[in-house]
């Protein structure tokens, strides 16, 4: 009895061990030692600014996928980018510094309150209650969830809306992830234009509640010569890379076309007057 129990258990254990030993050989997955070296090079902040779940995820992607550029790490910046470029043998292009940008100008738009919110002072909580106390369902709630999240103290609340200090912002995107209303967006620091509204509402619903809300007339989409502006998921989106690549020759056509004046020059500059004489296109306008 004792013998048989010992033999059975030992036999089973031996069998399992043998199975696992064989399996570890048969199912061995070759892991690239480069991945480990790349993840050592990365800052290890796991901020997710690159768009991957963590530094490990980005290391995997940048080693295995030739299409992934080595300059996605915003925390490491140019130094990490060149180190990754050397490790993976990829061309390191210029690191594009990003900044957070608030897609809402509810004070200028005079967005009214639907009710007085007296709950927990957090955007997440306020947004969970009847989609926030503002008339607009896409406005900045101004309780500063992003401010708490920011690691460089580049955000503060002013007149009930988040304000980004673009010179100190490192563009890690932590605030973008925490914003429950998707108001913040990452754009290149040298972006030329940016849209200051993120609403998905339709024409009347927008004009009723906000003076500077996007009415999705798509004039900017039609007028952009670079086709950098698209209507995506019910919002106007600017492909900043395409816009910057095209350069200044469009004379900021989108900002001029916008009837609500919400496609603004990034950096707070005023739209220069239209260069009327500078349009050498008589052939196109034959009367």
């Amino acid at each position: 009895m004792v013998l048989s129990s010992i033999l059975t258990l030992a036999g089973l254990g031996f069998l399992a061990a043998a199975l696992l030993a064989v399996a570890s050989r048969v199912f061995a997955v070759h892991e690239d030692p480069l991945v480990a070296r790349v993840s050592e090079t990365l800052p290890g902040a796991n901020c997710g600014g690159c768009g991957y779940a963590g530094c490990e995820g980005y290391a995997q992607a940048v080693v295995h996928n030739p299409a992934i550029p080595p300059n996605l790490c915003v925390v490491g910046g140019a130094k990490t980018a060149s180190a990754l470029g050397a490790l993976t043998g990829k061309l390191t292009s210029e690191m594009e510094p990003l900044t957070a940008y608030r897609r809402c100008d509810k004070n200028a738009g005079q967005v009214a309150r639907r009710f007085d919110y007296k709950g927990i002072p957090s955007c997440a909580a306020a947004a969970a209650l009847h989609q926030g106390s503002d008339q607009c369902g896409f406005s900045c709630l101004g309780f500063g969830d992003c401010v708490k999240e920011c690691i460089t103290e580049s955000l503060h609340i002013e007149n009930g809306a988040a304000v980004v200090n673009e010179t100190t912002c490192i563009g890690c995107g932590k605030c973008v992830k925490v914003c429950p209303r998707d108001v913040l967006q990452l754009i290149p620091k040298r972006a030329r234009v940016a849209i200051t509204c993120s609403t998905k509402d339709k024409l009347k619903a927008v004009t009723d509640v906000c003076k500077v809300g996007c009415i999705h007339c798509e004039k900017c989409v039609k007028v952009c010569p670079a086709q950098a502006i698209v209507m995506e998921n019910g919002r106007i989106q600017i492909d900043q890379k395409r816009c910057l690549d095209y350069g200044d020759s469009c004379a900021l056509a989108c900002a001029r076309a916008c009837p609500r004046k919400i496609l603004r020059l990034h950096g707070g500059a005023v739209l220069p007057p239209e260069p009327k004489k500078a349009q050498p296109a008589p052939s196109a306008r034959s009367s």
Binding site: S4, T8, L9, L12, G13, A16, L20, A28, A125
Partner: protein, 190 residues
Amino acid sequence: MSVFEVFISAIFVNNIVLAQNLGNCPYLGCSRERGVALGMGTAVVFVTVMATLCTWLVQKYLLEPVHLEYLQTLVFILIIASLVQFVEMFLKKAIPPLYASLGIFLPLITTNCCVLGVTLLVQREDYGLMMALLYAFATGAGFLLALLLMAGVRERLEVCRVPKAMAGTPIALIMAGIMSLSFMAFKGMV
């Protein structure tokens, strides 16, 4: 009991977590976010079914013929542990996307009493193989349900004003208790 009754009872009436209090560790540990809860729950369903299949066969064709039923617990632990290891290796090689989503949970399951509990309960109830597999699947689904519900509640709890002494695990335990009580309402069903 009919097939349907076993199914319903395993998910709701005798929910493995809320009524039988097995697998409480992942129930509290992996229920902070819904995504994690879903991954863990799916992994438990998968492993429970696999483990039930293996242990049922071992019980019927090895332990019972040599009258070693008293070694059940020991042998089942051994089998589940090596099975989970094997499955992990297999997934890593054969189905990398599935491994990426379930991979980190599989080692956690090795010591999950929910899985061991199901394999032992199957033997106690003396189910046939098909019935055992169905029971294992339903129990895993019940675990997944409890985990998802808890994750949903805890995501809301994050933005609630909880007294300082209660914040974190204490309030989670209270929520677990209340949820368990509310599942008592299913008792009359089967």
